[in-house]
Amino acid sequence: MRHLIDPLDFTYEETLRLLDLADRIHDDPAAYKDVAYRKRLASLFYEPSTRTRLSFEAAMLNLGGQVLGFPDAGVSSASKGETVADTIRIVSCYADIAAMRHPKEGAPLRAARYSRIPVINAGDGGHSHPTQTLLDMMTIRRRKGHLDGLTIGFCGDLKFGRTVHSLIKSLSRWPNMKFVLISPEELRVPDYILTEVLDPKGIPYVETRSLEEALPQLDILYMTRVQRERFFNEEDYVRLKNSYVLTKAKLAQAPADMAVLHPLPRVNEITLDVDDDPRAAYFEQAQNGVYMRMALIMTLLGLKDPKTGEVAFQC
């Protein structure tokens, strides 16, 4: 039995196989409508989420499976003080696979250590969000045709932005990558990403404060929201929330084939007039997320792809 807790839990080859399966689902989703018949997904969301929760639930329903769970810690036994370890032991009796979002970092790993079913990390605090990473990679690969040799700009909250950390870690396994890290000083990417992920592999990166200067050199621009819920101090949030806003006018400086990604939800960091630009890829990401999670559920449950007669890889 395997879990997906960290973006690097799958090898480079396994990740490629998963991306290939997600692409096949993308191209013919109807072929997969009964693959998970009578299987159940436990959707354990200890903090509010629209996209990720609905995406997981839609993925399971698209596969012909069923969903049970809770959308908020307030309506679970967590409100009575039940531990994550106890909750997953119980859920293991009711479901075949679990997706967990939790405000505390490491909660899905804690669950995985006690679980009898595969656990998927659906986001743990400011730490990690591996399924977002997979769908980001799927979107980048579909837009650019490949994942290697890209210059990727990350912009906004690079300190608490778990999607940023996860994506940098994962893409660092592809050759000839370059990263441009655009953030205010207070929201710089954590040092360990630089010293333990990028530096040891000799991956070039630039830290800058200027989105405008970075734009012309980018293949991908990954925008992020400054997240109110990650701040202990409201004053800091108010001061930093409007640091970067991508507008149609600024986008004029970017290459014509650049793609703009965003994990969503956005607040005001991408203005509405960017939505119609062909470079806007953030709604595609949301759609790809369903296909990617279908591929992940199938693989962790050991379900065969009806197109190939094989599982993506053994778990």
């Binding site: 003080g81 531990t83 994550v84 370890a85 939790h102 405000p103 505390k104 970092e105 490491g106 909660a107 790993l109 804690r110 743990d124 605090g125 400011g126 730490h127 360990y192 010293t195 333990e196 040891p200």
Partner: protein, 143 residues
Amino acid sequence: MLKVDEIQNGVVIDHITAGTGLALYHLMELEKLNDASVALLQNVRSQKSGKKDIIKIEGDITSLDFNVLGYLDPQITITYIENGHVTRKVRPEQPKQLVNVIKCTNPRCITSLEEGCDHIFALTPSGRYRCIYCEQEFKVQNL
């Protein structure tokens, strides 16, 4: 230079990161040694690192746990002395995992909420210890 008598029987803990000697002193519970003299030297000039701390212990050291030094500071050297002669000079080994030895101080970590959750730190390829849950690095300065 401050002069401390040479040790006849005991141990010298050298190359301690400057400023962390006192934390190490308390962590090794050196204040509880009844039959040994202990000298803590802080901010000693060092060719390698500019400044360092040193701890010298003269007397019975059999009750001391030197394993604790491995995760605190892998640069440390331990020199054993008997009858005025150096008998052994070693670097402490770094355990691959520490369970409930040090605590994760990240308020966002599951260890800060979950009852009965062990505090587990794993050794990374770069020689640092990180909480397995939130990946926050353990720093001896935080002790």
